[in-house]
Amino acid sequence: MNSIIITRAGTHSTIQDFGRFQYQHLGVSPSGAMDQRIITELQKIIPNHQNQFLEFAYVGPSIKVKEGSVKICVGGNCNMSIQKNNNSQLECQPYKSINLFEGDELIIHNTIDSVYGYIAFEHGLGLEPCLNSYSTDTKAGIGSINRPLNDEDIFHISKDVSSWDLISIPIPDLEKVTNFKVYPGPQLQYFSDNTLQSFISGVFTVTNQSDRMGIRLKGESLISSKSHDILSEGILPGSIQVPSDGQPIVLMRDIPCTGGYPKIAILNEVDISRISQLPPETKITFDLQTIY
């Protein structure tokens, strides 16, 4: 038996996978990793990840091997080091597999000029799925662990590391994007041509009131010529909704399942991952596509 203990939980550390689907008509949000590009890359290094990825934001977690040994890989742009059992310190990098032995502690300090990072564990973390997914929705209390991770959480990984060979991939090109192509939203016609012009030519700032549910933007007010209150309807991540204060919100992975605000536009799937990595105060612009 191998086991690890969370020695410092970090901020907003949760278990995520590629999402929980087929339940949104019962009020269950899709959730899943905010930046799905990174867990897609980590699959190349740790193919047997069992869909149990640890997601962290800003401040990373520290994990210590309590018993046995584990093979892991970190994804994202982050500062980290390994405190060995014999008190020596080891450098380590994202997208390179790491072998950790009893007493070793991986310390992820923080993400650099980005928000989210991930850890993949060979053979997963010994968790059971909840509604066919390992993703956590902390607000709804759904997940194989239905809350953020805490200090002292322990995970048991029954299978031993398959091979100590070090595997790495070139650091993926996850360049920072601040101009987003968007498609017309279902309520595009709720906004006048002038307001749409402000949406396209305006600069919006990511605010710190952003989380797994949505990214709140600050910029020129986008007031609807019709109404900011529509009959609730199904929504999907990436939708840009505009409540009555005119400040747009990009809906992210833990969306409410139906929503009553007009949606001016919607991002494509990969741009949801891209926008999730923009820290507060980042300035962004939108480019409305007419063909979709």
Partner: protein, 239 residues
Amino acid sequence: MYFKGINSYGDRGLVLDFGNETSKSISQEVNETFLNISNLSLQSLNIIPSFNKIVVIFENSKIRDQNKDKISMKMKDTKSQTNKNVTKTWEIPACYNEDFALDIKIIQKLHQITKEEVINLHSSVRYYTYYIGFMPGFPYLGDVPSQLITPRLATPRVKIPARSIGIAKNHTCIYPKVSPGGWNIIGQIPFDIFDLQSSYPSLFLPGDEVKFYSVSLSEFEKIRKYNFSLNELIKEYSS
């Protein structure tokens, strides 16, 4: 037929449009269509019905476009639009005891009626489940009798107890678990309606009919102690 057509929702979604009005007959068509297209085995990630729309979500635009024709064909095929007998009719015990009926006085005062009248009116109607949303397993039921129509609370409550029955505008609901919310709370039911251990976790489904019947506090506590599973609840309280 209220169905108006199929529109795109970004690069990977579709919206089946049933107009801008809301009524039980529109919802019945929405929910029958929901069952029909759920049975098409589409390569969809989610199919989400609401008052007058169905949103269908796919992984990408290619899969979306491949599946759009299947939905269009099904919508034209008027002969086999049958899927009516899969929904359930529920008789749900409700305790309107003052310990649970946190906002019943607001409704009494607004409509100048007694507590007994609120209870009799609320439990006199067979409600229709418009859809499930807001939080896991939360049913939007309606319509409440006109003498009970009440706006949301001016200041939403931070913590509504689990299993609470609420009224807002012409709808009534049950909160599956503790939640913030703005509905007027008038009672509580004695069992959970959402169970993560079950492969089909929600007691109510869109299109189900729900009728409440009033039970005393001691009867409520007796049922509460049984700790029914979802399957037992289906046997005990639905037909």
